[in-house]
Structures are given as C-alpha cells and as structure tokens.
Symmetry: C2
Subunit: 365 residues, 2 copies
C-alpha cells in the first residue's frame, strides 16, 4: 500500500481542517491539567482512587461488572483474546481479515500468544451471521469491530448483531467487541452503549478516537475476566507505575465529547453527501453510519495531490494530509468528524468541491 | 512476604520524609508542562521530533548507537532478552534469583516469550564471574542488574564487572544491563554512564527512580537491535499513539536531577552511618554504594510500627510507610535518597534515632 504524503504541509497550513478534534499538540494535555488540583494523588501500579474511580465510572457506563484501564487497545485486545482462549483451552479465534490485530500489530497475537486467527468474511464486506454459522473450525472467541474501520466504518444491522450474539452464546463462543469507535455508533443504532455491550462478553473502548484524549483504553467484562487481565497487563509491561496522564485526559475529553457523537454523525452524513455529488468521488459507506467514512476518488494521487494543495490554499479548507494509492488511477483517504468540522464555513466547504470537480475534469483525464 | 502498612498515614503526615524526591502528585506533571509551549507537537506512534530528539540524546549519553523510549522497563527488558534469544536461536538466559523479571512481572518472560531463565548465584549475594564461568547451560544472554536492588542495592567491584563482560564477549553471550538505577551508581564507580554501558550489548534505564519522572524507560544498543525492539514494542502494545507525557517528564527531571546523583549517594552514606549506630538496626550494605540501601531491624514490625509512628509525630521526620516482616522478630524497609533528604534537619534526624534506640530498648524485648 503506497501512501502519498505530499499534502501534510498544505493541510497543516489550512485555516479549517474538516477532520478530527484538534491537532496533537501538548496543549491538549495542558488543557486537562489546568483543571486538575496539583495535590491530586496519581495512580500507582493500577491502584489508587483516581484510576479506580474512572474504571468504575466506565464499567457502569458500559454496563459491565468491572473495567481496567490500559495504555493501549493493542495490549487490551490481545489480552482479552488470550484470556478467552485459555479459559476454553483452545488457542483459536475468528475476526475480520482487516482486523486491527491482523494488520496493525506486527502479529503480536501470534508471536506473543500463539493464538491462531481464522479470517472471517471477505476483506471488503462485514462479517455476517452466515459466516459465523459456516465456520468449520471450533473457536474460543469471535471478535467483532464496530464500526469496521478499514472498510469505511460499516455496521451490521442491529438485528444481525443480536443474532450473532445469540448464536455465539448458544455455541459457547465468547464474543469480544473491538469498540475503538463504540461511542461513535450509538446515534446510528439508537441504542445506549450498555445495550450494545450487553451483546458481548468483553469490550474494549478507546479514548483517543472520537473522544480525542491523549492515549488509553478500557477493557471491560465480568470481574473474573478483568482480574485476569490485570495479571496479563503486568506481563505485557502495561502496568505502569502511573498512567494518570492518560486517565485524566480520557476522563476530561470523555466528559467534553461523549454527548457530541450525534453531532459528529450528522456532520459525517452532511459532508459525505456533498462529496458524493462530485463526479469521480464516492464515499464508503455512501451514507455514513458513524462519524467516519472513506473517500474514494477515480484519479491517481499524483493528479489529485497538487490540485488539492491549491484548493486548500485558496479556500483555507483542508481535507486530508495523505492519499492512499489504491491503483494507478485511484486513491482514497479516511475522514473522522469531530469538533473541527462545525468550524469550517459551509460555503467554503461547497466551494472546495465545486473547484475540485471542475479542476479534476480539466486535469484528471 | 508479609508487609505491615500501618505507617502509611503517619508517613504522609510527616513534615520531612527522608526518602525519594517528591510525592506522586499530579503537580509533578504540571511542573513539567508549565515549561512546555502548548504548540509543541506530540509524538505519533514512535515518530516525531520530540521523541526522536530525546532518544538521540539518551543514545549519546549512554554511549550507544541508538535508543528507543518505552512506557515501562518490564516491556523493554523482556523484549531485549527476546531479541538476543532469537538472534542466538536459544531461548535461555541467566539472571539473579531476585531479578525484576523473576519476581515482579508475573512471569511475563516465560508466559509471553517462553524463555527459560537460569538463576545464577544465591538470593543474598551478587553474581560473580565464577558463577558465570561455572554455568552448565548454554545461554543467549546474561542480565546483570546494577545495583542489585533486592539485596539493598549492592554492586560488584568494577574489575569484576569488566571481567564478566570480557568473558561473555569471548563466549558469545550477550550481556544486558538492567540499569533501572544506573544513573545512581556513577558516583561510586567514578565512571561515566557511557563507560559502564560500553561493557554491555544492551541497556535499559528508568526515568522514575533517582530521576523522579512520571514513568518511562529507554532501551539502547546498536541500531539493528533497537529497530527490532520497535517491532516488539508494537507487539506488546507499547507503541502508543503518544508517549509524550512520559517523554517530557523524563527529559525535564533528567535535566533537573542527573547532576545530583553524587549528592544522593553522599546522603545515603550519611544516613546509613547514623542508622548503624543504633543497636538492633543495620543497613545493607553497611556502606551504601548508590543512593539506596535496605534497613534491617531486629524487632518485629508490630513492635516497631507504633514506636515509629510516635517518633514521626514528635520529630516531624518520616522514615518509611511500610515494614516487611522478615521473621517474627525482624523487619526491614528500603530507602532511596533523593531531593527530600537534604530538607530534613540533621538534628531532627539524629533525634529520631536517639528516640528509636531508647524506646526499642524499653519496649522491644
């Protein structure tokens, strides 16, 4: 996968960036600490009021018995799958071919835990109940990622999700939720986080996607599960003497943004609709089901890149810093809508795509 | 190992605490960020100027080709041993029976990496060249911890260290340094950090021991080694989107305290000498060789604890928050000297031990 990164500087120079919440500047942490009393005692190796309070708050919010704060989702999810594989004495799980564990973690699941993943479904579509029913191998755990990020953040119908959950429960298969973007899907499903989580035995959520924290994750489930996860967290080297910079920022930005997920979702639908009016541009999904979607363009990155750079400069609106070269004649990028989208004036946004369509017609063929 | 924790509150209430640098309050991070421009760009998945600058600074300071910032030493050291075991295709290492990996990491080395450790030397003494020479098993790597924390922070003679290093090099055994407290031993050895590190193939240092940062570690070696360590860092879930809270605090407190290691060492020797004048109290080592030592007392924790609590209150000086019950009639605790020691008035310190000796004579038998 070749990535054209020539738009990084033009994006940084733009007045309005349509994706995300804020640049990853240290100011994001300063904002958090400005609100915290310096005499607050930090956590120590997973103990202390601060970490326990946040874990309890998140357990309640997710509707689970217990929750543990982790430095990363990579660590939390490998550990979740390991616990279920150990419990069922079967080191085999199933997940989507574009699962984070399969493509972004340097095979940690295999290299550290010797767990064999069965890849369910084709790369370009969601896992269905049929895929699960037709599994030939016995597995300990099925991992579902909601939304499925690498295909634009797609979601199954809620009834399909319920059916998969019921089937797994019936068959004794543990169901784990990769909820990196769980908070972001509640407006589409019109279900509470706890309702969605009730379909799963274990749940991971992230605090630096829609929430926009610095880093950090929560792994939740019943207490027997989370207690085991603490042992594995120590083994992985994730039981830091203090995780409080991430805990405080997770809590701060959770409080700031958890009620904005509907706004981000509406923004994503609005922006995708504008984009889909451009010839040669199509979003995936056509109508987003969360705050995120992918943008596919029928032109090479080399053609589009200078045109976009020029448009960023003229309009002050920046769309993306990179383009993935999906073929000689096509490219794509990902957009996640956060706080920044609402600050970009609508007339300028429309102007971006009017100019883009016009210039691609002239230069793109 | 039973730990009596009844002195935690009396210690917190003391005006002068003799050990450590500062309480683990959020203020320690606020101090760091107050000195940082909010527009500074954070690191992203191990990349970016901030993390690369600090890694380069530490590589140069340690005299190694390359260095990688890790969230924890637990993660860094398991990974170092794994890399050497893979390189020599022999999953066997040797270390002290009280090595951090053996007693504090929930067997991560065995459970995640399937590496077999050979325990060298007896629990209560240092590893010698003879121990290494007489090893019957072939090993990929020998880990030495300098100073050996769990026996009071003891150090081998520098000539012994050089001999072990030469022997390992001759035999093709990789030598790894657990340098959690490496900075703290330079005053005793009268050698630079780089000179000491030159004896080792790979080195881990911590930033929250003598340096007093929030958390974080550096793993250093040649570039082939550190590049592999980045892959394993990703696998362990330690390649966080941003580690900057730990990087900034490591750098800040390194700059503040790296030149104070001599002062801490002198403080440790002074305090140990005062303690050793008390009947029934002995430090280990008798004369400290770094900023740390253990205090052994020939009385039960139940007897000593209320006496110490009373003395903390009378003098305003606090020694320890816990006592390890080493037997029915003895207990111990660890002291690491940092910034706080110099703030405790000498007359009050002497008064503590005058009172302690007197009251132990009356109550202790």
């Amino acid at each position: 996968m070749k990535v054209n990164q020539s738009l990084i500087d033009p994006l940084q120079a733009a007045t309005y960036i349509v994706g995300g919440n804020a640049p990853r500047f240290v100011q994001e942490l300063k904002n958090v600490l400005d609100q915290v009393d310096g005499n607050l005692v930090g956590d120590t190796y997973g103990s202390g009021k601060m970490i326990e309070d946040f874990q309890n708050q998140m357990a309640a919010y997710l509707g689970k018995e217990s929750a543990v704060f982790f430095p990363s989702g990579t660590m939390a999810q490998q550990i979740a799958l390991r616990i279920w594989c150990d419990e069922l004495r079967l080191p085999k799980v199933a997940y989507h071919p574009l699962c984070h564990l399969e493509i972004h973690e340097q095979d940690g699941l295999k290299e550290l835990h010797h767990i064999q993943p069965i890849l369910l479904a084709d790369k370009d579509r969601l896992i269905t109940l049929d895929d699960v029913v037709q599994l030939e191998d016995n597995i300990s755990c099925l991992l579902l990622e909601l939304p499925q990020r690498e295909i634009g953040g797609q979601l199954p119908a809620y009834s399909e999700l319920e059916a998969i959950s019921a089937y797994c429960r019936d068959k004794g298969i543990k169901l784990h939720l990769d909820g990196a973007r769980l908070f972001e899907i509640t407006p589409y499903y019109q279900r509470s986080v706890a309702e969605i989580c009730a379909l799963f035995d274990s749940v991971y959520v992230s605090f630096y996607k829609g929430i926009g924290g610095i880093a950090g994750a929560i792994l939740a489930g019943d207490t027997a599960f989370t207690e085991k996860s603490k042992v594995w967290k120590r083994r992985h080297g994730g039981d830091l003497i203090s995780l409080y910079p991430y805990i405080l920022s997770s809590k701060y930005y959770f409080d700031q943004r958890i009620d904005k997920m509907g706004q981000y979702y509406e923004g994503a639908k609005e922006l995708a609709a504008i984009m889909n009016q451009c010839e040669g541009i199509q979003t995936k999904p056509i109508v987003p089901v969360s705050n995120m979607f992918h943008v596919h363009m029928d032109y090479s990155a080399d053609v589009i890149s200078p045109i976009l750079a020029q448009i960023y400069e003229e309009t002050g609106v920046g769309l993306t810093g990179y383009l993935i070269e999906t073929s000689d004649k096509s490219c794509s990028f990902e957009l996640s809508i956060g706080d920044r989208y609402s600050k970009a004036p609508k007339d300028k946004l429309n102007e971006v795509f009017r100019l883009l369509e016009m210039r691609l017609k002239v230069n793109g063929n």
